[in-house]
């Protein structure tokens, strides 16, 4: 059975532009603190790190938003780390291949 919204409900859950921007500023501060302490995953840490900023965020933003922001940040950091790792891997591989070919070339012309 489909759920119909009650037609007379007031606009109680609207978040205004101002509230949104306050939330974003608090979030940015919190994330800056996390970056300074080099924390990627918030779930595994104890809550004493960046506690002040976190409380600001919790008060100014909706809970679903906070979870969403934190998850998104972690996901993006993981993706960046993976990208860096992969490029470093590719670079190492390339170097190794080049060194191997150089060795081969050198060995060809070595006087025996």
């Amino acid at each position: 059975m489909e759920k119909l919204h009650p037609p007379e409900r007031e606009d109680t859950q609207v978040v205004t532009r101002l509230e949104r921007e306050k939330c974003w500023i608090a979030r940015d501060k919190y994330f800056a603190c996390l970056d300074k302490n080099r924390i990627m995953s918030v779930a595994n840490q104890d809550s004493s790190v960046c506690a002040n900023e976190r409380s600001d965020v919790d008060s100014l933003c909706r809970q679903s938003w906070v979870d969403y922001f934190i998850q998104r940040r972690e996901r993006n950091l993981q993706i960046d780390a993976m990208k860096r790792f992969r490029t470093q891997q590719a670079y190492d591989e390339l170097e190794a291949r080049e060194a191997a070919s150089k060795e081969e070339l050198r060995n060809k012309f070595v006087k025996r």
């Binding site: 119909l4 007031e10 606009d11 859950q13 609207v14 978040v15 205004t16 949104r20 969403y68």
Partner: protein, 342 residues
């Protein structure tokens, strides 16, 4: 007695040698011990004899070669003057010509460095070649563009869009018929979106303003993917935060919104059993959909378009748009060979 600069010495030596051979040939004796004067006199005389008008080609046909008589006296005088050293040998053109043939003074003939070719011809050839290559390239480009257009024409029309019935922020009914008569830009979102929907709606504001500046009127439409929480008054209050002229905010019952999202191929993750008080984020695809005055789909713009890029692209599409009945299968326009700047 004799002039002593280099060229005359060479001349004299040559004349001496020539005279010896000539005189010996003419008289059948060898004259190795002739005096210089006699040798020179003989040489000039014999040369005159050898190269006299009568022995020249066409001398009997061309009268000008025969006009020698007044000069003959002068020649004798000149000869004596030359021999005695009173007069330096003048640059008689005929003599010089003969001498160059006889003495073989090797002055290298100045050759044209290009040889057989000439500059003008080469330039024309190069220009023609460039025009040909440019033409081929333009034809290829035109073929590719035409192919792309043909492909894009056949796709997209039936895939996106369709009938729907929703309620706008003022409580009025809005269906696909309300899309007709003007171009529309549709964005699917929800009012409790953390940061993406506000960003996209601000982008939409800029797009609508830019298009207005170009004289193009586009109807901006916001459709909520979160029907449970987004009631018409909620949508109205939400949209007041955005400075978008003429925006229409649509919502409705769960099934209606679901049907509309399905028609527009919009993914959204709102489960049907949440309540208005629940706190959740709706995961949805982030696109702008451009619809034409016949209610048909034109183009979709994703997140890689910024406001400027999107407005340019939309303006382009709108300018190119032709109503369905006037639409003909686009014919291939062959580029002109001469208009290489097109």
């Amino acid at each position: 007695m004799l002039a002593t600069n280099k060229t005359t010495i060479v001349e004299m030596v040559g004349i001496w040698r020539q005279s010896v051979t000539l005189c010996s040939r003419l008289s059948g004796r060898s004259f190795s011990r002739m005096s210089t004067k006699d040798a020179m006199r003989n040489a000039y005389r014999s040369r005159r004899v050898l190269f006299s008008p009568q022995s020249r080609p066409f001398s009997t046909t061309l009268p000008m070669f025969n006009e020698r008589k007044p000069e003959e006296k002068k020649v004798e005088e000149d000869l004596d003057a030359l021999v005695t050293g009173k007069k330096r040998p003048m640059a008689d053109p005929e003599l010089i010509e003969e001498e160059s043939v006889v003495f073989k003074v090797a002055k290298p003939k100045r050759r044209n460095p290009l040889g057989f070719f000439n500059v003008a011809g080469m330039l024309i050839f190069a220009g023609g070649l460039a025009m040909l290559i440019n033409y081929k390239r333009r034809v290829q480009r035109a073929v590719d563009a035409h192919k792309e257009e043909r492909e894009s024409e056949s796709f997209g029309k039936a895939l996106i869009g369709g009938p729907f019935q929703l309620i706008d922020q003022n409580g009025g009914i809005f269906t696909q018929e309300n899309l007709k008569g003007k171009f529309s830009l549709i964005y699917f979102g929800f009012t409790l979106c953390p940061d993406i929907c506000p960003e996209e709606l601000d982008k939409m504001a800029i797009i609508v303003k830019n298009l207005k500046k170009q004289g193009i009127d586009v109807q901006p439409i916001f459709i909520s993917c979160d029907p449970i929480r987004d009631t018409p008054p909620v949508v109205k209050k939400y949209l007041e935060d955005f400075d978008i002229e003429g925006i229409v905010g649509l919502t409705g019952s769960y099934s209606d919104v679901e049907a509309c999202c399905k028609a527009y191929r919009v993914y959204f993750s709102t489960p049907p059993d949440v309540t208005a008080e629940d706190d959740y984020i709706v995961d949805h695809s982030i696109f702008f959909y451009l619809m034409d005055p016949e209610g048909e789909f034109v183009n979709v713009f994703g997140r890689r378009y910024d406001a400027q890029g999107a407005s340019e692209e939309i303006a382009k599409k709108i300018k190119k748009w032709v109503p369905a009945k006037d639409r003909r299968e686009s014919s291939f326009q062959k580029p002109s060979f001469w208009k290489f700047w097109e």
